[in-house]
């Protein structure tokens, strides 16, 4: 077997490479800059299709709120370019590098969308899927397709941007992306309430999100967990925007949340930014690197009961909440199954949700479903979607599920 690893410079060359894979019925591992290569089930194939050379910003129009770039463009490069025009990727994509034992700042914009990343601002601004306006990609049929456009308001045809976001390279190789950018807030302030237990914290976060004060993020660090300069137990409520507005909202919210107990403080400027970057990138649970890390998405108010169910069955669990309780990051002691049945059993006890094993040894990720297993009907539909893009299974086979 040859050991060709392709590193195309153009979309046409991507099409050539996939057309060859189809003709040879030989699967490819799709990577861009490789910072998230260790997420998902291990892909064991002989050939790699590396999209990192499809790099560079083709178009950035601050007044139109759009940016277009190749999938291999470093996110860091895009974010610093946007910052010069006081703009940002509003969904605040997390950087998985350090959590996975790599360096920070290595991710690509293609990876951000393929993984549908988001950060603490998810609850206000949405995830990557809410910001991809259009794309060009080569499907597993070796065909170049485009979808969407370069305008925000567009309902022409199916919204394929949604289906490629979070598909982890199993449907198509993205060759060009157009996405929405937004003005960056002028200032930010974070109210920090010390001393609450999980239940009280989630109730407080619910009240904050239910207020008219436009909270953009809400996280709770339990006792023993620290992020940035803040040590838990700490419930953190972020307010962003124009100076006078943030000041007025912080003051009003402080009053409204006083009844929940705890000790109220506040941080702003770089202290606030450091805190939310740490929350975003799972810094509190990064070390030691040999612990499996789970990411749970549940109804916000269900967060504490899910954590309680897991902690009563597993010793030595560390965790914290983002998204007002709806996102739980959880580190468990290393076990061959990463405590999957306990974690997923706890999620199943809520109205709805899912658990993803974001970090684990390769052997564990090969043995345990990394992504939440789906009920039969839904799994079959997902398999038909995969088949519609990639009937021979040449793109990242097995990365999301054992069958596809």
């Amino acid at each position: 077997m040859t050991t060709d690893n392709f590193r195309p410079d153009t979309g046409a060359q991507v099409q050539d490479a996939i057309a060859w894979a189809v003709s040879a019925e030989t699967p490819l591992e799709l990577i861009s800059r490789g910072s998230k290569r260790d997420v998902g089930r291990p892909v064991q194939v002989a050939h790699t299709l590396d999209l990192s050379a499809l790099s560079g910003v083709g178009l950035y129009e601050p007044e139109e709120l759009i940016c277009q770039a190749g999938p291999g463009t470093p996110v860091a490069e895009i974010e610093s370019m946007l910052a010069e025009s006081r703009q940002m990727l509003a969904f605040e994509p997390m950087d998985l590098g350090p959590l996975l034992g790599g360096e920070a700042g290595q991710g690509s914009i293609g990876g951000v969308f393929a993984a549908n990343l988001a950060g603490p601002r998810r609850i206000k601004a949405g995830a990557a899927r809410d910001h991809l306006l259009g794309f060009t990609a080569v499907t597993g049929r070796g065909e170049t397709v485009k979808s969407g456009g370069r305008v925000v308001k567009n309902v022409t045809g199916y919204d394929l941007s949604k289906i490629v976001c979070g598909s982890w390279g199993t449907l198509a190789a993205l060759t060009d992306l157009t996405f929405k950018v937004l003005p960056a807030p002028e200032v930010e302030t974070t109210l920090v309430i010390h001393g609450l237990d999980d239940d009280a914290a989630v109730r407080l976060m619910s009240a904050a999100l239910g207020s008219p004060h436009e909270v953009s993020s809400a996280a709770h660090l339990p006792i023993g967990i620290g992020a940035g300069d803040i040590a838990g137990p700490a419930t953190c409520i972020r307010l962003e925007g124009f100076g006078p507005s943030v000041a007025a909202r912080a003051e009003a919210l402080e009053g409204e949340l006083a009844g929940f107990g705890g000790t109220m403080g506040a941080v702003d400027g770089y202290l606030s930014r450091d805190l939310w970057r740490a929350v975003r990138d799972v810094e509190p649970l990064t070390a030691p690197l040999d612990r499996p890390v789970w990411r749970l998405s549940v109804p916000p108010m269900a967060g504490p009961s899910v954590v309680l169910a897991i902690r009563s069955a597993v010793e030595g669990v560390e965790y914290y909440y983002d998204w007002a309780g709806g996102l739980i990051w959880l580190a468990v002691p290393a076990e061959p199954d990463a405590h999957a049945s306990i974690v997923r059993g706890a999620v199943a006890g809520t109205a709805s949700g899912h658990a993803t094993l974001v970090r684990a040894d390769e052997a564990v990720r090969a043995a345990v479903p990394v992504f939440q297993p789906q009920a039969t009907g839904l799994a079959a539909l997902n398999a038909r979607i995969k088949n519609s893009f990639d009937p021979l299974g040449v793109l990242n086979p097995g990365r999301m599920t054992a069958g596809g």
């Binding site: 040879a24 007044e63 065909e143 567009n154 949604k162 003005p183 709805s352 839904l378």
Partner: protein, 495 residues
């Protein structure tokens, strides 16, 4: 508009089909009388009319599942319908099809303030959701102008927008979960009260799929706390170019208004004649900029926008001092369509989107087309996101004018695509823009979209004749043309 050829064999079995549907939905839930079916013969795009073979109005998800299962087993086409307000003919019936109306699914099932969600049946109106939660200060953000009548299920089907979507997003950004029924009668759930999908984002794919993939029987949306306050500026400009430059400057200054609407001279005067909102009649373009949020922020930003508008040559500028005045500013805009209806026997509303900076170009092209076709056009835009609603004025009683208006409309949409925009910003493709899909998408692009339909509906029974200009069999679409034995491409970079 050519619709799929009615299937004679199905039509011949009509009596039997009606009886089978009556066995599933007893009582008055099956309508087979021509006169009683008349209200269902068209939707908001009234130029197209077609009586369905039969109308069925189920009340439970189990009935929907049984109907779809029966229709698939018997090769019968199904057209889903919410409130019937589609402006693109998305709910236009088929002569040999079952019209599946979801109007009886009209209950709110769950209001969860702590998690900030509402779960409703698909026939609940868009505004009905806000009404259910407004006493606690909450609302549902997407606000299509038909919100008093349009259903939340229809909003999911069309990915509806509205005046406030620049800041608060479209339906797709505000839906958390659905219960749906596939054509084979299987009931599935996507999402719930949590965020993001565990597998492929099928909820995102379903939203805006125009009733071609599945029938939605329950919808969970996120609700937001109503902004503390809202104020609006009413700004006149000499020309649409100047108004457009002001819009770009507002966004460039980091301000995302709750709403930002533009009207041209013809629309301004039609609206003023109709509602007397105090619009400047001599202005070439009028901008309504609404800022919402905390009072301090709104007051602060109003001044910033005022300064920008004045620097961009505003010829008149008013700032709302109270709710009555703010509503008066909006009254003309909200009445713009009926106002135009008063100055012309008929009008045809278009819905293209362009990159905003192309506004002067599209306007001058429209002016040329207007002269060429001999039909007037009034313009109303969602200025913040470049979504145009040109209203073409015509008289359907004049022979050939409807066809002329349609041709004019198609030319406008082609121009939108040429300028980097799209065919439809919020009304959907439906039957109306179906045959223009080729201006935006290649055969390969459209084939891939249709393969996705095949993944849900392998026999093409759900709403056929909409969205796609050419129908292909799924077996044909699935075929691969593999040339075996090719060598890896020699000029492809390796490492």
């Amino acid at each position: 508009m050519k619709m799929p050829e009615p299937d004679g064999a199905v039509l011949a079995r009509r009596g039997e089909i009606v009886a089978a549907l009556r066995a599933i939905v007893p009582g008055e839930g099956v309508i087979a009388d021509d006169r009683e079916m008349r209200p269902y013969e068209s939707d908001g795009l009234t130029a197209y009319r077609q009586l369905p073979m039969v109308v069925v109005l189920p009340e439970t998800t189990a009935q929907v599942a049984a109907i779809l299962k029966y229709c698939q087993a018997n090769g019968i086409k199904v057209v889903p319908r919410g409130s019937g307000t589609s402006l693109s003919g998305g709910a236009l019936p088929l002569a040999d099809g079952v019209l599946l109306g979801l109007g009886k699914f009209n209950r709110i099932l769950d209001i969860d303030y702590a998690n900030r969600t509402v779960t409703a049946q698909p026939g609940v109106t868009n505004l009905g959701i806000t009404h259910a939660v407004q006493d606690r200060g909450f609302y549902y953000a997407p606000d299509p102008s038909s919100q008093i009548a349009c259903s939340i299920g229809g909003n999911v089907a069309e990915n509806s927008g509205g005046v406030h979507c620049l800041k608060y997003g479209l339906t797709t950004n505000n839906v958390l979960g659905v219960e749906l029924v596939t054509i084979d009668g299987e009931i599935l759930r996507l999402g719930g009260k949590h965020l993001d999908s565990e597998g492929y984002d099928l909820l995102g794919l379903l939203t805006g799929s125009e009733g071609l993939l599945a029938v939605v029987t329950e919808v969970t949306v996120r609700i937001l706390r109503k902004p503390a306050t809202a104020r609006a500026l009413l700004v006149g400009f000499g020309s649409s170019e100047e108004a457009g430059a002001c819009v770009a400057a507002v966004v460039g200054a980091g301000i995302i208004p709750g709403g930002m609407e533009m009207m041209d001279g013809l629309a301004i005067n039609a609206a003023e004649d109709f509602v007397h909102a105090g619009y400047p009649r001599d202005a070439g373009a009028l901008l309504i900029v609404e800022l919402d949020g905390p009072e301090v922020e709104v007051d602060f930003l109003i001044e910033r926008v005022r300064a920008i508008a004045e620097a961009h040559g505003a010829t008149s500028l008013r700032i709302s001092q109270n709710e009555d005045e703010r509503n008066a500013f909006w009254a003309g805009r909200k009445a713009a369509f009926p106002a135009v209806g008063r100055i012309s026997p008929d009008y045809y509303c278009m819905d293209g989107t362009i990159p905003r900076r192309q506004l002067p170009e599209i306007l001058s092209r429209m002016a040329r087309m207007s002269e060429q076709y001999g039909l007037r056009v009034a313009n109303v835009f969602h200025a913040g996101d470049g979504n145009l609603h040109p209203l073409i004025l015509f008289d359907a009683n004049e022979p050939g004018e409807l066809e002329k208006a349609e041709a004019f409309g198609s030319d406008i949409l082609r121009a939108c695509v040429e300028l980097g925009g799209v065919l439809t910003g919020e009304h959907g493709v439906g039957v109306e823009k179906r045959d223009l899909m080729g201006t935006m998408f290649s055969e390969i692009d459209l084939a891939q979209q249709q393969r996705l339909k095949c993944a849900w509906d392998p026999d093409g029974l759900l709403n056929p004749g909409k969205v796609f200009p050419t129908l292909h069999r799924c077996a044909e679409l699935g075929r691969m043309h593999i040339q075996r034995g090719q060598l890896p491409f020699p000029d492809l970079p390796r490492f």
